[in-house]
Amino acid sequence: MRAAAEEKARTGEAPPAEALHRGGPGGGFVLPAVRGVAAGRVIGFAKGLGGTAVSLAVTFLGLLLITFVIGRVIPIDPVLAIIGERATAAQYDAARASLGLDRPLYVQFGLYVWDVLRGDFGTSLLTARPVAEDVARVFPATLELATVATLIGVALGVPAGVVAAVHQGRWQDQTIRFLGLLGYSMPVFWLGLIGLLVFYGKLGWIGGPGRLDTSYEFVYDLDVPARTGAILLDSALAGAWDIFRNALSHIVLPASVLGYYSLAYISRMTRSFMLEQLSQDYVTTARVKGVPERRVVWVHALGNVLVPLITVVALSYAYLLEGSVLTETVFAWPGLGLYITNALFSADMAAVLGGTVVVGLVFIGLNLLSDLLYRLVDPRAR
């Protein structure tokens, strides 16, 4: 997990640049040089977008191809699952035709892509509802968890990375590095279980599994209008502070467990970005000018680190979605991860593959978002 993330972060700059080259000469050549700067920026940006859009479409199709293949290699015969084993051969063929399974594979794949584009992921065996509807219902819970975890990771990880870079090689650096390695090495589900054992079972400081206490769940369903699906936000908007407090006591442990991972990743990347900036000439200049060291580090250098950090934060956000599968299982958190694993145990392949596609889409979307932000913020990337 970490290796892939670092790899992506390191090569994060490459795709936009390649995309720009493929787009031919930038907008600056087309327009008069005088007003070329601002306009060229916009056109270059748009051309970069075009290249990104094409590669996104290809990635998206590839993603669907993978889930399509997985859906076809399962040992369960989808026709038999519907009509039962006692059906006649004629009934079997009719059902097969109605599912489109008698057509060539490439036609089936085309139909599958078309279905997904229309938002049709099939019907879940377990809930007997469209998978898309199910996913829309459970996704806010995952999003809420991942967001709080990312906030924790950024709030602690960035300062930790800066401190490690400033004290490079000394005990502060070693300690932070070691704490990060601890984070990378712990199985997330185990850390969650231990957390539950200590803070819920023994100390009773926090709420247990689930998003709310059962008594609050009814109140929440009845009294609080579901505006966003995120309980913390909804209850705050409705002014229901007792629900807010209860939700907070439930989310704090799973979010901290997940946040530890993003902390480990973010602090490591912040450290290496900071080391790079601190060796630049402008830092020396600022020091020579007599700018206080604290300002040099936290304003001058950190300001330039924030741009590449956007990519890192977006990536860690995406990886939290992955970690959420295991975390949600441990904390009975009714999100996408728990939905996928529950579907898995009832051989509900439509739900498993639908959930997988959605996670893949969010992954691609976050990559695109970080790419766009990066290009908007950093003039060199245009």
């Binding site: 970490r2 290796a3 790899e7 590839g62 993603l63 997985i70 390695l181 997988t356």
Partner: protein, 300 residues
């Protein structure tokens, strides 16, 4: 001439001597890093434990003794206690090391080799080969690893073999990227041109002259990746998709101990500690190896 002088000489007489000297220097860098040595010690201990399991373990890992169920650590000759079927947890962890090493070993051999082939081919040939192969790599990278592995195992059925296949299928793309990047840096080097002028074919150049240049970065990546592989395997086991009971796989053991968490904490905690220590060992060693072999990330 002593061995030390032979290794550290500035004027090696043979290719073998130069290579040994380089390895020796890297090794000395590594030895100076106490955390990396700790990691190495953990891994050596793991391998020994797995190899000598019948002698290290105190009980049979599978046989159930129901009258001794859920004994706390230390009671009745069970150093780490017993599980819900009266099996000795310590012995199960010892035998579980074999399963973990088996999974990690196979993935760590297959995935990098596949990634290496894809990456070097993409980098060496360039053009449309590069575009197609790298697009494929990006597609696999676009999936979160565990979720893709989950979908694969769901389709293929639970079990150690399928878990290995699923993890390997999701583990190769980073290697392909690393190998491609390294290939691009050597592709236009004079020594490659010289080999080509002597009539060497593409296969020969890639296998004999490009791949060796990629090896050191790939090895570092493998070591750093080991922890991730262990955690993914344990995660699949925890979800019930990896090794099936009664096999003593660590993730499966945690999953079983989960039901008794509040009253019998040791059942889930002990195998988790084992996973944690082992993946920490790989992470520490990988970190040290990277510092020793990769001058770019060495502390300045």
């Amino acid at each position: 001439m002593g061995l030390g002088a032979w290794l550290t000489t500035d004027t090696p007489r043979s290719r073998f001597q130069a290579r040994m000297g380089q390895t020796y220097n890297g090794w000395r860098d590594l030895v100076r890093n106490p955390l990396a040595m700790l990691g190495l010690a953990i891994i050596v201990a793991l391998v020994l434990m797995a190899a000598l399991a019948p002698w290290v373990a105190t009980h049979d890992p599978i046989v159930q003794t129901l009258k001794d169920r859920l004994l706390p650590p230390g009671a009745g000759g069970h150093p780490l206690g017993t599980d819900e079927l009266g099996r000795d947890i310590y012995s199960r962890i010892v035998y579980g090391a074999r399963i973990t090493l088996y999974i990690v070993g196979i993935v760590a051999v297959t995935a990098p080799v596949f990634g290496l082939v894809v990456g070097t081919a993409a980098g060496y040939f360039g053009g449309w080969v590069d575009t197609v192969l790298m697009r494929l790599t990006d597609i696999f990278l676009a999936f979160p690893r565990l979720i893709l592995a989950l979908a694969f195992v769901a389709a293929l059925g639970a079990g150690v073999g399928n878990a290995i296949l699923a993890i390997a299928l999701t583990a190769w793309p980073p290697y392909a990227r690393v190998a491609r990047a390294e290939t691009l840096t050597v592709r236009n080097a004079d020594y490659i041109a010289a080999a080509r002028l002597q009539g060497a074919g593409a296969t020969r150049i890639i296998l004999g002259h490009v791949m060796p240049m990629c090896l050191s970065s790939v090895i570092v990546r493998v070591t750093l990746d080991m922890a991730g592989i262990i955690l993914t395997a344990a995660g699949l086991g925890f979800l019930g998709l990896g090794a099936q009971p009664p096999l003593p796989e660590w993730g499966t053991m945690i999953s079983a101990g989960r039901k008794f968490l509040l009253d019998h904490w040791w059942v889930a905690t002990m195998p988790g500690l084992a996973i944690f220590v082992v993946s920490l060992g790989f992470n520490l060693l990988g970190d040290g190896l990277r510092d020793a072999l990769d001058p770019r990330s060495a502390p300045r």
